[in-house]
Amino acid sequence: MSKQLPETPMLDQLEGGPWPSFVTGLKRLASSEDKPYAPMMKSLLGQLERSYETRKGYWKGGTVGVVGYGAGIIPRFSELSEEFPESAEFHTFRVMPPSGMHYDTEILNKLCDIWEKYGSGLIALHGQSGDIMLQGCTTENVQPCFDELNELGFDLGGAGAGVRTSMACVGAARCEQSCYDEAKAQRLIINSFLDEMHRPSLPYKFKFKFSGCANDCVNATHRSDFAVLGTWRDDMQVDQEEVKAYVAKNGRKQMIDQVITMCPTNALSLNDDDTLDVDNKSCVRCMHCINVMTKALKPGKERGVTVLVGGKRTLKVGDLMGTVVVPFMKLETDDDYEQLNDLAHRVMDFFVDNALEHERTGEMIERIGLVNFLEGIGVDLDPNMVAHPRTNSYVRTDGWDEEVAKWEARKGAPAKAKAAE
């Protein structure tokens, strides 16, 4: 006789209401008597209901992996294996999605086929780091399941002290605000760090994220050690006829209240003829006006990226935002993309050599100072790296003249190069 569906009075209360219910999904899997995972999912429901009753978690980690890799499988063993034996092993696969998380139905159905054969049938699309998470596999099935996923074209993502799975926004695929080829940059960089992802041996985790503009739809600024954010260096593109049409349709008050006065650097002014005056030197490429007037305004044409380094979540000394390390890097040619990849590798090398165990890049920079970090990765100083210069007068400045000479040399260099042309 097949195992009964467990009584789950608490979880049942999460089946009502209009939002799609994960509990209903779990029960569908547990009730699929013709499928190999039904007993496992009945057991899982029993354990989850227990957690709801006791307000305690019952999973512990361990060591499970696939041949050749030291990461990518999150082992989960139940502390209640005697009571819930069928879900005693419930490991997760972290699988890297295509850039921008694009799928066709054929690939998703094939993914489901493999997962129904070897796993629980439970899939998270996607985890917080961007992984496809296949949740619930026995130790025995991990290797054959991976082999089939891998043959289908999928590779495992990161875990532990290694390079983690990365995310790129939808970007150039469907967004006019995209300032570079996010998928190209992501795949170039991540696929050159697969050794650091699959065989983790860094001081701690390292995350890359790729957003096409300052709207930062993949939360790169805060949620990655190396954030690549699209921007532009020339003037914003303005279609003045569309500006006039916007004002005509929505009125001057809305134009002033929602566009002009919301510019963080007061770079906008409405002309008497309802065209827009843009002070591009004051503009910080924040995207607000472009978000509001999607037809009239666009990023400029000389596009590239700003790179921020050091973002992270709370553990252990508190949250950090990434801060500017490269204010602008043009991204057009293949060589430009290689330059970005080269920067990523310099940052990684420095991190590997200098971070303490379990220290993130942001914490390392906080400990050693931004200036030492910049010297280490060979990046020149720029006032865009600070919110404002130092306010504390207790500083030793006896190398001032040498530093000024460096600044003058750097500042003079482009002018000299131009004169030589």
Partner: protein, 356 residues
Amino acid sequence: MTEPRRPIESGVPDPFLYMHPLLKQNYGNWKWHDRPRPGVLHHVAYGGDEVWTVKAGTQRQMDVYTVRKLCEIADTFAEGHMRFTTRSNVEFMVSSADKVQPLIEALESSGFPVGGTGNSVSMISHTQGWLHCDIPATDASGVVKALMDAMYHEFTHEEMPNRVKITTSCCQINCGGQGDIAINIQHTKPPVINHDLVSKVCERPAVVARCPVAAIRPAMVNGKPSLEVDEKKCICCGACYPPCPPMQINDPVNSKLAIWVGGKHSSTRSKPTFHKLVAAGIPNNPPRWPEATEIVLKILHAYKDNAKAWERMGEWIERIGWPRFFELTELPFTKYHIDSWRGSRVQLNASAQVHF
């Protein structure tokens, strides 16, 4: 013995293999977009191609039946392609306006709410909780389900001043991230140590090093090498628990929920900001967490009723001031709202500017 199969280290898959053909053809050549209605985006390319995107919410933790249902909808109504957003919403792309309504009807009749665009409350980004995490003090999917049920209207309509991004986290590491509103576990008691297990399970120096306030030190307890916690110094963060499970931080009664507001990832208008504590001591009350839901709704409605168009939660509070925020939300202001570490002095009001 046969050689084990070696992995093909193929890395991040090529998105062009799976991308909707119109997105592929117009890659990098989009001109503008608008939103014809909540849940629908309309993009126009320089060459004149147009694509309509219908966005719908999912439960994130999906069974294969749900994924196959989405595939069936994509095959019948959406030209066989889809993509997902960072907040687990699904997006279907179609090549003509007349395909939008049938797609919306198919999604809604299958239980997927259409919305999440523009100035709506999008899906909550969340963690794994009791379903799969090894250190959770609460569930994630359940909290999210309860909250999204309560905010369903705000997902399917664009009635907020600006977009609202909500996150949840089931430990104080806060994997859910920054949010306009964040609902996170807040432990209130130091870890309870099982001294019989510490020396067997934990690498003691690593655990000592993990503590952000140096409150853990090696000790002999009952003749066994273990660890002890200076409970006066301990900030109950739980950072010692992952590397040392015998230092149990999760407490069914004393692990509470806290609510934070004003976090923002984008550099749009204002610079990115961290969320700030506004409420704590909220019961961790499964299966539907009614107390937390009530406070979230109160904050959400105060924002909806009072913020100006395009102001994010944190920008709105920055304008009206914290006294007014606490007044509008009727939340108490306590000593726990004032940070006390060395670097937190910048959080004090060093001016004569006072709100009345």
